[in-house]
Structures are given as C-alpha cells and as structure tokens.
C-alpha cells in the first residue's frame, strides 16, 4: 500500500504524496490540479460536469502487448488517484522539439478550426487521441469522437474538415516521444493506494481480493469507478467525500469471456469497450452504447457504474433487460446471480444485499427468432439524457405469433420498468399492425410518467406508445 500516486505528466514522472501535500486531496479533480500548476493552463473549464469537453485531456496507458492506448477524457470528472500508473497528456505535451505544431494542431490552423479558441485545446486533445489510435477516417467516426466537445463559434464544419485531413494522413511510426513514454510507464509503481487523512480516506485497490476485503471493512464507503457522478459532489457542492473505494484499478473487473451460449462482461468494462464487444452478437446494445454520453464519458464510465446508480433514465438497464441479462454479485462469501428484471428495487435502489460489489453481467446470445431493438428519445440525438428510452425483445414462432415479448422502458417511472400489462396482452397474439395498434392503447395508460424540464407527461406517454409502432414498422420492413 502506498500513500502517494505516481504518474507521468507530459513526459515527466510526477509523484503526489497526499499526506504532505496541502494543495490537493485525493478528490481533487485533474482539471483543478492542472489549472493550479504553472504552464498547464491550456485545459479549460467550461461546465465542470463533462458536457462541454473544454477540459479534455488524454490518458495513455500500456496495454497487454506493451503498446500505448490513448483515451480522451474529461479532466473535470476525474479524481487524481485515477492517474496512478498512467500518463496524463495535455495540449502542452504536443509541442514539437523545435516548437513545430502537431499535425492535428496544424490541420486546425489550416481549416480555421479555431475561432474564439476556448474550446480548441479540448478539440485538439480529442483529435490527438483519435490520431494516435490510428483511427480510420469516416465522418461518422469523427462526429462520434467530437460530439463531446462543444463549440459555439465554428459550427464544427472546419473542425470536422481538420479531422478528415489529419486522419487521412498516416501517423508516423512510434516516435521517440512514444518510446520514452513507454519506458516511463513501465517503471511506474502499480500497487494499491490507500490515503487516510483527517477528513477522508481514499482506497484504490489493485486486486479483486483487496477490493472485497475493503468492502467488508468499510461498508459505508462510496464505491466508484468512473466517478462521473461523484466528482460533481466535490466540485459543485463543495462536499468532502469522507470514504471512497475506487475500483478503477482492479484489472480483474475489466474482463470479458465468451462462451457458446453467452457473454460474461466484467463490471469494470467501459461503455466504449462494451460498444465494441457487443457489436456482433448484441447489436442493439452496441448501438445504445454509441449514444451513451460522449466519447470522453464512455471511456471512463463503466457497465457496473451505470447499473449501480440504478437511474430511472439510465440507458444501459433497459437494453440489458431486453437481452435477458443476469447480474453477478460478489462478496468474500461468494457469488449470487440476479436477473436484471429483478435487480432494481426502487428509485436508485438496487438489490445488493450482503454481496458487496457488482462483479459482472451475463448476457445469453439471442437466437435467430429473437428481435431486439433499442430507442432513445432525447432533445439532442446524442450526449443527452433520455426523455424516454426503450428496449424491446420479440420472439416469434414460425406462425408469426408472439412467443414471448418484453417491453422495457426508461424515463416512464421511478425505475426502469417493463410494460407488463401490454406484454400480457400481446402474448400469443399474431404480430401485425392491428395487434400493435390495440397494444398501443393499453400502453398509453400503463405508465404515469412525470412532467419535467425535458418533457411533458403526455408527450412521454405518446412517445412510449409510438416507439412500439416504430418497432413494428422497422421489423416489418
């Protein structure tokens, strides 16, 4: 156990010892840390909640085969201990030896991709990660990578042009700078961190066993992984989080296994990775992942974190329910499996009795007669909290009648809910337009949603019913 964290900041090994450090605590965000340092003010605060991307930085890590992976993340949502064992890269790192610009910077200059410039370092870093990851250019890839960076001046057109320009160039082979970073990262200590100050303790266990023990010892501690929610309590409400267990360094939670019948996905798998993992066998899940927050969020937010918050408007739960997912809970005493249909007990409450952590989710691979679709209605197509979200599962028998149907909705009640009445009505009926129209009438009255800033209750009801119609229309094509 260490009381300090070690990471590489723009090519220099940096150690923060929280016991002797007076300026920072373990719940200082990386954004606030950087902006307090001399010479690192390129990173900007535009919203301090992960919506604007002006604070985007890149985390570089060594992957299994000794190469670097690059992730663009929102520094306003990340606590300092998350940097432990990693490299933090900011816009200042991109400067060439003789002051020359990095290709992404050069492209932005040439396309007039910067006007007021406040968002620019964030865009530079999002593009830099994309470039370093040698991403193939397509407008879709560029849009997806940049949707988490807001710009009010350019209309994005010149920035998308810069992305095209720079991604079509082939990045240079591992540069000297990259090799140096790899050497530095190899030498960083990786063991667990435990900081205990007068006001706060913060644990960053490195193994599952440690995590389970900590969970036993500190049952009241806040468990977090991506910390996309927890950071706001510190920066917006000036709260001190007295006890934190950060699971993000537990490699065993980031696993993924595939059998003939199912996938088992660790709770530490990020949404971005889940999107790739699920592409072939769970396409509806993959699509939902694509519109889950921004890329910066997807790269730190995890499957377990999203399930753990049990948000009534969370995007993951409906689709995982449609896939008949089972959650695997773990404690020192063993494992327990709970169907996701029964996992959420009430508003932001989950069934996590004596088991202490969400370990993984198992998803059975659906058969050919199973049709699953997901829908998300939001004011903006992406990077937006859902007004209504839905996931539908339909199993037809060979006579085109409904063998089994599951209609799962988010945003319609205090929890994610199935439309049981409508499901019961549909069970065994012929799958046709008439049936769907009749079902819509039941569906409209099945929920009593609320009116809020996002939408009125009536719209939610109508939209929920319309989504079923949309489902039918899509399948009948």
């Amino acid at each position: 156990m260490r009381e300090s964290i070690s990471f590489v900041l723009n090519g220099k090994i940096t150690v923060i010892d929280f016991l002797s450090e007076t300026r920072f605590t373990p719940t200082t965000t990386v954004l606030n840390y950087l902006r307090s340092l001399p010479g690192h003010r390129g990173v900007k605060e535009g919203c301090a909640e992960g919506d604007c991307g002006a604070c985007t930085v890149v985390l570089a890590e060594l992957n299994g085969d000794g190469r670097l992976t690059y992730r663009a993340v929102n520094s306003c949502l990340i606590f300092l201990p998350k940097l432990h064992g990693k490299a933090l890269l900011t816009v200042e790192y991109l400067k060439g030896q003789n002051g020359q610009l990095h290709p992404v910077q050069q492209a932005l200059v040439e396309t007039h991709g910067s006007q007021c410039g406040f968002c620019t370092p964030g865009f530079v870093m999002s593009l830099y990660a994309l470039y370093q990851e040698k991403t193939e250019y397509s407008r879709e890839n560029a849009e997806e990578a940049l949707a988490g960076n807001l710009c009010r001046c350019t209309g994005y057109q010149p920035i998308l042009k810069a992305a095209e320009k720079v991604l079509k160039e082939k990045p240079a082979a591992d540069s000297e700078k990259e090799q140096k970073l790899i050497r530095l990262l190899k030498n960083l200590p990786k063991e667990s961190v435990a900081v205990q100050t007068e006001k706060q303790y913060y644990h960053l266990p490195a193994t599952l066993d440690e995590l389970l023990h900590l969970r036993q010892t500190y049952p009241q501690a806040l468990l977090l992984n991506g910390a996309t929610d927890a950071a706001l309590r510190v920066t917006k409400k000036f709260e001190t989080l007295p006890a934190v267990i950060d699971t993000s360094a537990v490699a065993e939670l980031g696993f993924f296994t595939k059998t003939e019948r199912s996938f088992i996905i660790g709770s530490g798998v990020t949404i971005q990775r889940l999107k790739d993992i699920s592409r072939d066998h769970f396409p509806a899940l993959s699509r939902m992942c694509r519109v889950f927050g921004s890329r910066q969020i997807r790269q730190i937010a995890t499957l377990g974190g999203n399930l753990g918050t049990a948000s009534p408007i969370g995007d993951m739960l409906p689709v995982l329910m449609a896939y008949d997912g089972t959650v695997i809970l773990k404690s020192l005493n063993g494992e327990r499996r709970v169907s996701l249909d029964e996992f959420v007990l009430g508003y932001r409450q989950i069934d996590l009795k004596e088991e202490k952590i969400i370990y993984a989710v198992e998803l059975p691979i659906p058969g050919a007669n199973v049709h699953i679709r997901t829908y998300k209605i939001s004011k903006r197509r992406e990077v937006d909290i859902s007004t209504v979200s839905a996931a539908f599962r339909l199993e037809l028998n060979n006579k085109e009648t409904i063998e089994r149907i599951k209609l799962v909705y988010g945003g319609m009640a205090e929890t994610t809910k199935r439309a049981y009445k409508t499901e019961a009505f549909l069970q065994g009926k012929a799958w046709n337009g008439e049936t769907v129209l009749a079902a819509q009438k039941i569906l409209v009255d099945e929920f009593t949603p609320i009116s809020d800033a996002r939408s009125g209750a009536d719209f939610r009801r109508i939209a929920a019913a319309n989504l079923l119609l949309k489902f039918w229309q899509e399948l009948s094509k």
Binding site: R41, G42, V43, K44, E45, G46, C47, A48, D51, A54, V91, E92, L94, K95, Q105, L108, V109, E110, H112, S114, Q115, C116, G117, F118, T120, P121, V124, A142, L146, G148, L150, C151, R152, C153, T154, G155, Y156, Q157, P158, L160, K236, F238, I377, K379, R380, R381, E382, V383, I385, S451, A453, R454, S455, G456, A457, D458, F459, A463, N466, K470
Partner: protein
C-alpha cells in the same frame, strides 16, 4: 480578378497558433500572488422588497476578507442604457439572478460558504413572468414609471385601405423562446490595485468602453484611474456586455475594499443564472394579400420580454420594428413593437439583435402566402423581393446594390430547391416514417448601429522603427477574427506581409472610445478606421519617399514589401518598406497615426417610424433540408446552404467561419435551444439541460459568398456575423412544414412541437404564472 495582394485571401488566422497550443490567455488564466476570490449571494425571490441584509456570520468565517452590499458601493450602483441595472441589489430584487452581496475570501470554497451564510429579510411582492401580463393595468410594477420599457412604431400608407384592397388575409401568431449565448468561456475578471491609486481590470468584456465607465463610476474614480485590459475572449455573441461588466465591477469593488487583487469567476451555473438572454417575443402578424401574391398591407404587433432590467431592449426592439416587414414591398404598414419588464432574467443583446424573432414570423408568413397563392417559396419571394432603389417600410430609398434576388437564386440553385420542394410536399413523402423537407428563408439587415446610436470608430497604426507594425482598434476580437481582418487590411494598405503586423487587443488608454463591438460593425467600422489609420501612416511615408527619391508622392505604390515608383509605363522599386521606415525615423518622422471612421448620416422619426434607418444593408438567403421522424418528432438536419452578400470578403475563410457558426447557432435556435424558466427560476443552467448543437447534429453546410462592394466599407466590405444567424430558424421550420404539412409557430421546433404541434411543458409553465407570490 481583383488587384488585391492580401484582401480576400484565406490567410490563416493571426491568433491561431496561440489557440491551438493552449497558449492563448483568457481572463481566468491571469493570476496574481495573494489574490482573493469572489463569490455572490443571490436573491431568493424574483420580486421582493429587501428589508435587511445580515452579513455578520459571513464576516466571521476564517479567510473572508470582505463582504459588500449596495451600501458599500462608493459611487454609482446603477448603470445601463436606461440606468436601472443594480450592481448589488438595493431596495428590491427583480429576478433570481440579482446579487444581494459579494464576498472576497482566500479561496472560492471559503467565499461561497461565507456567501451562503448571509441572511436577507424580504417582503415578497407579486411577480409577473409574461410580458403581455406585465403590460396589463393591474400588473405588479417592477420599475417606477411602469413596465413598458419602450414602444416603437412604424406607420406607412393606410393599412385599413390596404386590407380593404386585399383579396385575402393571413393572420398568425408566433412565439419565440429566450435563448442563452452559451459562449464557452464563462465570465471572469481579475482586478488589482495599481501603483497610482487606480485599478487595472483584466477581463473579457465585449463592450469594454462601457465597462470602463461603469467601473470608474462605481469606484468613484475618474476614467483615467481605471485601466481596462482586454484578455483573449472565449466567445460573446452579444452576451458579454452588461453580464461581463457586472462580474468585473463586483471584482473591482472587492479589490478596492481589500486593497488586494480579486478574481471573480462565474461558473457555468452562475453565468446562465445571472446573464441576460435573447428576448422572447410574441408576434401577431396580419397580412392583406392579393391573388397575384403581392402584399397590400401588413399590420404587426410584437411584445418582447425585457426581463428585470432595460439593458438593450430599446435598441433590440428598434431593429425589430425597422425590419419587421422583411425585405418585401408593401405600401401600407403599421407596426408596433413593445418591450416590457418582467421578473424573468433580463434580456439584451444577442447576435441577431431583434431580427431572428421577426425573421421567423416574416419567413413563416411568406411560406403561408406561397401556399395560398399556389407558387413555390422561391417564386413568392422573388415576386415580393426588394430591388435596386426600393423603398423600405420606413420610407428609406435603398441606394446601394440590392442583391436579394441574386442571393435567393444562388441559394435555390446550390440546394436544388425547386425540385426537392416539389418532391417532398408530395403525399408519398409526407406519409413516410421519415419524411424529408426543404425550406427557404431570406432576410435583409441594416448594417452597424444605424439611427439607434452614435456611430464612429477609431484605430491606431504604428510602424515601429524596424518596419514591424502594431495595429489597435477600438474593436475587439471575441473569436470572430477581427485581429486577422484588421491585420489584413493594414497589410494591404502598407503592402507588407501579414506576418509583419501584430494586432494588439485594445485597452482603455490606447484607442479612443469606439463604441461597442456589436451590430456586425467590426469590419465595416473598425476595419474602416484601421484602413484610414494605415493610409495616414502611408501618407507620412510617401512624403518622405518623395523627398528622398525625388519622385511625386502621387505615384508611389506599396506592395510586396517594397515601395515602387509607378510613374509612367513601368514600375520600378525604390527601396524596401524597412528602408523607407528607417529613412522616416532618421528624418524625425515617427510613423504613428490614428484613423477615425464616421458613417453616412441616418435619421429617424420616433412618431411615424420613418427615416433612413441604416446607411447600408446586407442580403442573405438560407436553405435547410431536414428529415423528420414521424413517430417521435425528432428532426435531423441533413444539408444547409447559406448565401450572403458581404460586400467584400476580407478573408474568405473567416467569412465562411462566421457563416458555419451562424448556421449552427440559428438552426439550434430553430429546433433545440431554449432557456427555460419556471416562475423566474432558471432551469437550464448548464449544458446538460441547455442544448446546443454538437458535431453530430450539424448538417453538411455550404457557404456561398456573394460580393457586391459597398462604398461605405473598407475595400467594399460590409457585414456577416449576424446575418449568418438571423434567418436559419425559419429555413428549418419551413423545411419541417414541407416534410409534414404542419407549421411550427412556436420555437423551438422540438419533439413535442413537431410531433404534437404544441409544447406541453410550456403549458405547465403558463398555468403556473397564475400562482403568483402574494405579499405578506
């Protein structure tokens, strides 16, 4: 085609390097040792009398250095066009963004904690949140003298006779929503006492000459004891006028009280809560039309929500009244535009400045007219469009090139408008799950301030002894590219490379008061002044060259970094620019000159609403192509064409930048953006609730630049910043109509509006207006 060296070129922006490397310094990037941090205490009722303010608990918090209320303001606590904005609320609160007290402490957290301990006693008053209700007789009075901020009129011809003559009437009501500027950089200022009993303010103020006056008056100091340094600005769009002044002046008061540097920084939530918005309008349009598609009469009434303070309401609504009838012939006009106080966030300048609201109504009406007459939206516009020499509703004869038809035709051609419009209005398209639609809009816009204010701008050009040049104008760069444009203009006049020019952000001691950088006047006014200043310097150089080389000054040319004798048939180089510079200094001729740009006269009669409102106008046309999800109402922007006659593009890439950004902002206004308040409480205070378009939402855009040089602008340049944004929304809603057959009359065209034809939540809000707070 042109004989310019650098005008019109796609030069990289002169400030691009600092911006892509993160080196650019914004207001919050400045810090000083021992600086304190400010925090604010907000009003707790949208409308209340303040009975007492108890700051004693806040003062006891360790680390707190000062707590100020209005009583601690040594000078003027009021400011504004109509000076009713309070720096610190005194007798009343008028909206929930009013600040009752400010705190300076060693860090933000301490300052905020202390601010939370301030106790204020109020007597609640009846509040009003609807401008029409506010104008009713028994409405709660928000300012002495009543709630009507202003009432502008235009009277032309005889509308009654016009309606008599008409074959049919189109009458419609439209509503537009308040929106947030959403500059990415929130307001910030650092103020420190300087060595001669004065203060220096570093901040991001769009109209820093105004900020300068407000701060000096509040501190009780002469103007020359307050120096304003403009930091690089992270966007403004009209928003960092009073909003940024408030942040800066509060920091200044705390700096004066403590004698230490004070940083005042708004979080995004502070920024949205405090700052003014674009006015919400209710618009009543009645047109008397003829079968041939012409318009015999227009009767228009508009009511703008001015919110708690007057701010720019009188000017914003003046532009509305001038432009309310659009660029269309109509002999009989009666227009009334009102602005009223309410207990909502105050509203003020925002890119467009009173035109986006009326353009939405006009361009919706024009499509309705096309539908009634049975011609296409393009044909109906061509039938009614102003031409050279046209007379506007205010009786102004247009003496410049009126290029409205040119831009309309170019926009239609570039988008294949006529064919697609016909295809999409078919039943076959409209019954699809995802029908497509295409919509057209156009507008004209008076350039610069017009008859609403005094209009002059200054610049100084200084050729330093080594031949490098600094230029400074009383116009600031908020991101739009003024630095680059000014530098290009000076480089063109002096015939030297752009890299030799450095644009200095103005500070309050450097360039004479040039008025605000608003009204798309940066290039035409500031650029005009820079051109004159550069020409004045060149004159000095010419006279020296004439003496040194015994040539006539009239024949001297400046280009390619050299000075040329262009006398006779051939040109010959006399010397380099640097050599001539050295010669000037050697002869005691320092190369420093200023330039002042005045404008052609404008005039206005308040009673009749007649006069030459603006010295020139610009013309533009937009086409939006959308796809609507008939199940959910979700509208996707597919393509966008935006055509603008800018007079002359000084830099084509910066002009395109303005157009792309304007389209995104204008289309967002059309379909997504909305600042939501419920009983005066701001509900959309960060980007998780206040939506602007992302890279995934923007359409594929095509910008088409039309150039008809104008005698008033430098090298013929006019404007583009606001034209780019002001007509995008109706292009989108007209496209939605084309796709669905349903007209959106309330902005934004969000899911509910498109799918259901109404806003459910808005109805909730309207109902809640009735539950006013009763006085105790």
């Amino acid at each position: 085609m042109s004989s310019f060296n650098i005008i019109g070129k796609r030069e990289p922006r002169v400030d691009a390097l600092g911006k892509v490397t993160g080196a650019a310094k914004y207001a919050d990037d400045y810090n000083l040792p021992h600086q304190l941090h400010g925090a604010v205490k907000y009003a707790e009722y949208p409308h209340a009398e303040i009975l007492s303010i108890d700051t004693s608990e806040a003062e006891k918090v360790p680390g707190v250095e000062a707590v100020l209320t209005y009583k601690d303001v040594p000078g003027a606590n009021h400011f504004g066009l109509i000076p009713n904005i309070r720096i610190l609320a005194d007798d009343h609160t008028r909206y929930l963004g009013d600040v009752v007290a400010v705190v300076a402490a060693v860090d933000r957290r301490t300052a905020q904690k202390a601010a939370d301990l301030i106790k204020v006693k109020y007597r609640e008053l009846l509040a009003v949140f609807d401008p029409e209700e506010a104008l009713e007789e028994n409405a709660p009075v928000i300012h002495e003298g009543g709630n009507e901020i202003v009432h502008h009129k235009v009277r032309k011809g005889d509308v009654a006779a016009g309606f008599e003559e008409a074959d049919f009437i189109i009458e419609k009501t439209f509503k537009t929503q308040p929106i947030e500027h959403a500059y990415l950089e929130p307001e910030a200022a650092l103020v420190y006492p300087d060595e001669h009993d004065g203060f220096t303010v570093i901040g991001c103020m769009q109209n820093f000459y105004t900020s300068h006056k407000v701060i000096a008056a509040a501190l009780g100091l002469p103007l020359n004891k307050v120096q304003i340094i403009q930091s690089t600005m992270g966007g403004s769009f009209g928003g960092k006028d009073e909003a940024a002044t408030l942040v800066a002046v509060r920091a200044a008061l705390l700096a004066q009280k403590t004698g230490r540097p004070v940083k005042m920084l708004s979080t995004r939530e502070d920024s949205i809560r405090q700052s003014y918005k674009r006015h919400a309008y209710k618009l009543y349009y009645k047109w008397g039309c003829k079968k041939d598609g012409t318009i015999a009469a227009m009767e228009i009434k508009a009511v703008a929500d001015g919110g708690a303070y007057a701010s720019m309401s009188p000017f914003v609504t003046w532009r509305s009244v001038v432009q309310a009838t659009g660029p269309y012939y109509c002999p009989n006009v009666k227009t009334d535009v009102y602005a009223a106080y309410t207990n909502n966030n105050f509203t003020g300048a925002m890119r467009g400045f009173g035109s986006p609201q009326v353009n939405f109504a006009i361009e919706s009406m024009m499509d309705e007219l096309a539908e009634r007459v049975g011609v296409s939206p393009l044909q109906i516009r061509l039938r009614n469009a102003f031409e050279d020499g046209a007379e506007t509703a205010t009786g102004q004869k247009l003496t410049h090139r009126v290029s409205l038809k040119e831009v309309l035709i170019k926009a239609a051609e570039a988008s294949d408008f006529e064919r697609k419009w016909r295809e999409y209005r078919s039943e076959a398209n409209r019954t699809k799950t995802f029908p497509k639609g295409i919509g057209l809009s156009c507008a004209y816009r008076g350039v610069s301030l017009g008859a609403e204010g005094v209009d002059a701008a200054s610049a100084v050009v200084y050729v330093q002894p080594d031949g490098s040049v600094t230029v400074s104008a009383g116009i600031i760069d908020m991101g739009q590219g003024a630095r680059t444009v000014m530098a290009q203009i000076v480089a063109e006049v002096l015939g030297i490379p752009l890299q030799r020019i450095h644009f200095l952000e103005p500070d309050s001691g450097r360039v004479a008061d040039s008025g605000p950088t608003v009204a798309s006047r940066g290039t035409i006014m500031g650029g005009g002044a820079a051109k004159i200043a550069a020409e004045n310097v060149r004159e000095i150089m010419k006279h020296t060259a004439a003496v040194v080389y015994s040539v006539s000054p009239a024949h001297l040319g400046f280009r390619d970094g050299k000075v040329w004798d262009d006398n006779g048939k051939s040109s010959r180089p006399l010397c380099t620019f640097e050599e001539l510079t050295a010669a000037c200094y050697a002869r005691g001729k320092p190369l420093f000159a200023s330039g002042v740009r005045h404008v052609a006269e404008t005039n206005w009669d308040e009673e009749t609403g007649q006069g030459n409102a603006y010295f020139t106008f610009v013309y533009g046309a937009n086409v939006a192509e959308v796809q609507v999800d008939s199940a959910t109402g979700q509208t996707e922007l597919l393509n966008f064409v935006s055509v603008h006659d800018v007079g002359r593009a000084i830099n084509k890439a910066t002009v395109e930048g303005q157009i792309y950004g304007g389209v995104a902002m204008g289309a967002g206004y059309g379909m997504m953006e909305e600042f939501i308040q419920e009983n005066g409480e701001a509900k959309t205070i960060n980007f998780d609730e206040y939506y602007i378009l992302t890279a995934m939402d923007v359409p594929k855009m095509k910008a088409v630049i039309v150039e008809n040089p104008d005698e008033h602008g430098p090298f013929g340049a006019k404007s583009v910043g606001e034209p780019a944004v002001e007509m995008a929304a109706p292009a989108v809603t007209n496209a939605i109509y084309n796709a669905t057959g349903r007209r959106v009359q309330n902005l934004p065209a969000n899911l509910e509006e498109v799918r259901l034809g109404q806003k459910l939540r808005r109805n909730v809000q309207r109902a809640s207006v009735a539950c006013k707070i009763e006085p105790k």
